[in-house]
């Protein structure tokens, strides 16, 4: 193997090397005193964000042609580039979000940032996987880091419980995925996506292969928390420390959805007729459950969990369509979903009273008077998630429904718009609490600069996306084209 065969995986290699370096740095920085811990935590967090930033540059530099490596197990194309940039941005934002919280709660250990970067490396592997084996490898690398992060606040019962739940159900997902992969291998004789695609090009897939695909779909659905495999989401979201929830809600979702899209479109794209119905059911059920179950929630993190289930349902409409417009819809959706969620979670992280985090929706009351900026930003994110124009969330839904109508999936689109009206009800509830109700017990005033900056940037993007939508639409279209061509 020569060096230029590794070139496609250069960003991943870079990240892996940097993780080792940061780990060493952290270990040697670590001192006996708690203050030193915090110092090394800050240093490593800052460096990790820098590493992720540099990786974005590397990823973008490799863009615009299809490259294979490691015996065609690893692929870099426009689709992978797009998804990786999103994941890297999401992870960097998650690290920035977490610093203040972890310091306040006395869990400012430098391993946190490193674990996040580790998980990100796994996500990048997932996105670039071109073989069921490399897919599984990436997925596990991501998942194992995530299990640890979920339980990061190890003295806290809720956090450890969340970690355990996530681990058990994640392992179940991995098991199903592996079983499906083994069936696929058994009936097709290969695990490579390109070869699988060639095999399926001609005739009908055999029954065993379809069963295999369904198991793979089930495993992936668990990872993206789509109905009927969503049950872990609310508990893990609620139990995990809030910045961890913020991370879970965005980067792994994007990576898993990108992986989902690649697996369905590339190796199994020609068997679309056999799996389309399954995805249609998953998508419709996720939209309905996400909307209906969220109505009764009182805890804002649980609400966000159901909201994310709903969002996954919308994104999966694009997969039901199974063509270039659909994939474009998914990619646009993911980018906007990323910004909305980072912003919303940054606002949730501002919710503290007497240095304790609070997470009931009713705690937000009167926020528009005590924190006008945060309240306005959260209002923007909520209206955007509800899909009200001219905010970005509307365009995300527009492109998804666009694909659905073009493909004639009118019923699915109608379910989508109706559930978005139900969704509007609970998003508006948050606006109501902030703007229409008063409080005697306001939230703490001090809000860290990083949070304010993130919230400001996210709100700006959501508000003014409509001025230049092509900044996201064009790359998304190019990425979708690259996936379908490859």
């Amino acid at each position: 193997m020569t060096i230029d065969q590794i070139i496609p995986a250069l960003p991943e290699v870079f990240v892996a090397c940097m993780i080792m370096a940061l780990l060493m740095l952290g270990v040697f920085q670590k001192g006996a005193l708690a203050e030193q811990d915090v110092k090394s935590f800050r240093l490593i967090s800052g460096l990790s964000v820098g590493v992720l930033g540099l990786t974005v540059l590397l990823v973008v530099m490799l863009a615009d042609r299809q490259l294979m490596a490691f015996n065609n197990m690893f692929v870099v194309d426009g689709f992978a580039t797009y998804a990786k940039v999103l994941v890297l941005v999401a992870s960097a934002a998650a690290i920035v979000l977490s610093t203040g919280y972890l310091e306040r709660h006395g869990v400012a250990r430098f391993e946190y940032a490193i674990l996040v970067v580790f998980a990100t490396l796994g996500m990048m592997m997932m996105i670039s996987a071109n073989d069921l084996i490399s897919l599984y490898m990436g997925l596990e690398m991501q998942s194992l880091s995530l299990y640890v992060i979920a339980a990061f606040q190890r003295d806290d019962q809720r956090s450890t419980e969340a970690g355990l739940k996530y681990f058990v159900l994640g392992a179940l997902a991995s098991g199903m995925l592996l079983y499906g992969a083994s069936l696929v291998y058994g009936f097709a004789g290969t695990t490579n996506f390109t070869v699988l695609a060639d095999l399926l090009k001609g005739g009908e897939p055999s029954v065993g292969l379809v069963v295999g695909i369904v198991f793979v779909v089930a495993g992936l659905a668990l990872k993206v928390s789509a109905v009927p495999f969503q049950m872990w989401t609310p508990d893990v979201y609620e139990g995990a420390p809030t910045p961890v929830t913020a991370f879970f809600a965005v980067a792994p979702k994007i990576a898993a959805l990108a992986l989902f899209t690649r697996v369905m479109m590339e190796p199994f794209g020609d068997a679309a007729a056999s799996w389309q119905q399954v995805i249609i059911f998953i998508s419709a059920a996720s939209m309905i459950l996400g909307a209906v179950a969220a109505v009764a929630q009182k805890n804002i993190k649980r609400l966000m969990a159901y909201s994310s289930i709903g969002h996954v349902g919308y994104a999966l409409i694009g997969l039901c369509v199974a063509d270039e417009t659909g994939v474009r819809g998914i990619l646009v959706y993911l980018a906007i979903y990323l910004v909305m969620n980072v912003g919303a979670f940054a606002c949730i992280l501002c919710m503290k009273r007497g240095d304790r985090m609070v997470e009931q929706i009713s705690d937000l009351s009167g926020m528009s008077k005590t924190h006008p900026f945060i309240a306005f930003a959260l209002l923007v994110f909520m209206f955007s998630m509800a899909g009200v124009p001219p905010l970005a969330g509307f365009f995300a839904k527009l492109y998804i429904f666009w694909a659905a109508i073009e493909a004639g999936l009118v019923a699915l689109a109608v379910i989508g718009v109706l559930t978005s009206v139900i969704g509007a009800f609970y998003y508006l509830r948050i606006v109501r609490v902030m703007y229409f109700e008063d409080t005697e017990d306001p939230l703490d005033a001090g809000i860290s600069r990083e949070l304010k900056l993130l919230i400001g940037v996210a709100a700006f993007i959501i508000c003014f996306f409509f001025i230049q939508p092509n900044l996201i639409l064009d790359p998304a279209a190019a990425a979708a084209k690259a996936l379908l061509a490859g």
Partner: protein, 500 residues
């Protein structure tokens, strides 16, 4: 004209938003002044449209076009014809009056309030000038955000219920329209409204599209039986919120029927005309009777709005020149008159903080000027000749008589009922002896309040005495609309209707 006057009118209020939001000031007076100057300036700029408007052509004027989302063929495209131009004027006229009317009524969060109103103006004007389906939709729905906030933050005791009801009702209607718009794009290959006006959709698709648009517009108008959000929203909204709601937002539905349903889906429109007639007549008669039973002034006027909007929908679907012009005229005059009536309620509400009709009585003794202005608009609402209300109702009935005499006959009962409940309201509030102790010190209107009403008085009388200056503006556009409809119907074999 070379410079983008429509975009200027649309986005000028944003200057005020930026000024109010980013110039730090603790004095709410500044926010009020900025909002007044900016919205007043917007009105003055919009007068340029009025004076430069070519009344001899049905083409879109002042058209601007810019690429926006070329991938889907969606572009930023604005322009006005004789129908939309009048609504733009109505919007720019009412907004500064709303700011003025809220001068003293709004005491908390003045900055946010003014920002919400200016943003609302942007969306409202944008909706009327949009010439692209999706641009239209964006403005159409975006209006909900500031309206939701206005009702929810500055509204009455049941404001939360009212704001949610308004938001969810209208959202439910409009999301179906969004899907219909996409279907239109995939059939016609364009989102340009001017091109879609003459596009012929397959009959079955057309029926579905018509229903989807109807769901949205009927809720917006609102038509019976989906009108129930309106009384709640009106009662709970602050005065200026009610003014905008009745003055402009209700016109979205009627405008939508004339811009989309009739010209784009003519066959379906003919097919569903009996449905529209039925619902409209129920609205006219039933909500008039409901209005008669109200004890709350705002609720009474809200129900009267529903009844008046019934005339609008009847007129639009008569497919006659008189009917359609009457329907537009009715919308304009209702925009002015009902806005004025809500302001009139606001005047006494600011003093007494009660909207109960029984709370008042014999006000003429202490408030003669108020009595006169109230009388004028009460009579305009009834449709007295010499006021704008008469022309609209008369033309609608004229059109309806040509299309279906029964409809005209039933609709005319609405005129009588309208007179009943309005005169009854007026008698109970203004006439009689001032016997109620708490009213003995009530003050007549001050200069600011008279300044708010003066433009509305002028416009109402102008509309009543010299309607041609408005009818001339819309005439060519309406004829062109009907010509398109008739061509389409003739092509589809509806000879009997086309022959009219």
């Amino acid at each position: 004209m070379d410079w983008p006057i429509l975009s200027l009118v649309t986005f000028l209020p944003l200057v005020g938003v930026v000024l109010i939001a980013f110039v730090p000031s603790d004095n709410p007076e500044n926010a009020r002044r900025v909002a007044l100057w900016v919205s007043g300036g917007t009105f003055l700029v919009s007068l340029l449209i009025w004076f430069n408007f070519d009344r001899t052509t049905a083409d879109m004027q002042f058209v601007e076009e810019a690429a926006w989302m070329p991938m889907a063929g969606i572009s930023y495209r604005v322009g006005v014809d004789g129908i939309s131009m009048l609504f733009v004027m109505l919007t720019t006229l009412l907004t500064p009056l709303c700011v003025l009317a809220s001068w003293e009524a709004i005491k908390v969060r003045v900055k946010e309030y003014m920002i919400a109103f200016l943003i609302l103006e942007v969306f409202m004007v944008g909706m009327f000038v949009a010439l692209d389906l999706f641009l239209f939709y964006i403005f159409f729905e975006a209006v909900l955000i500031p309206m939701f906030i206005i009702i929810g933050v500055w509204g009455g005791p049941r404001r939360i219920y009212a704001s949610f009801k308004m938001f969810l009702y209208t959202l439910l209607g409009s999301v179906l329209m969004l899907l219909a718009m996409m279907a239109m794009y995939f059939d016609a290959g364009t989102t340009d409204i001017t091109k879609l006006l003459t596009h012929d959709f397959p009959a079955q698709l057309e029926t579905w599209l018509w229903l989807a648009f109807f769901a949205s517009f009927a809720i917006k108008v609102p038509m019976w039986p989906v009108h129930t959000w309106l009384p709640d929203a009106h009662v709970e909204a602050p005065t200026a919120g009610s003014v905008i709601l009745a003055g402009v937002l209700l016109k979205f539905g009627g405008y939508g029927f004339l811009r989309f349903s009739l010209p784009m889906f003519p066959e379906a429109s003919v097919m569903f005309t009996p449905l529209v007639y039925t619902l409209s007549i129920i609205a006219v008669i039933y909500t008039s009777l409901v209005a008669l039973a109200q004890e709350d002034m705002k609720k009474l006027i809200a129900y009267s709005s529903v009844a008046h909007m019934g005339f609008v929908t009847i007129g639009a679907f008569t497919m006659t020149v008189q009917g359609i012009e009457g329907s537009i005229y009715q919308m304009l005059s209702h925009g002015v008159v009902s806005a004025a009536l809500f302001l009139i309620v606001g005047v006494v509400y600011d003093r007494e903080h009660s909207r109960e009709i029984d709370h008042y009585g014999g006000l003429v003794e202490r408030m003669p000027a108020y009595g006169i202005i109230f009388m004028l608009f009460m009579l305009a609402s009834v449709g007295l000749p010499g006021t704008g209300g008469f022309v609209g109702e008369f033309l609608v009935l004229l059109g309806a008589f040509q299309a279906n005499p029964w409809v005209a006959a039933l609709a005319s009962t609405g005129v009588i009922l309208g007179a009943v409940y309005m005169l009854y309201l007026y008698r109970r509030i203004i006439f009689g002896k001032l016997t109620k102790e708490h009213l003995s010190k009530i003050k007549d209107m001050d200069k600011r309040e008279i300044a708010v009403f003066a433009p509305l008085v002028i416009v109402t009388l102008w509309m009543g005495i010299y309607p041609s200056s408005f009818l001339d503006v819309m005439h060519v556009s309406v004829e062109n609309l009907l010509k398109n409809v008739e061509t389409a119907l003739a092509a589809a074999g509806h000879a009997n209707i086309a022959g009219r």
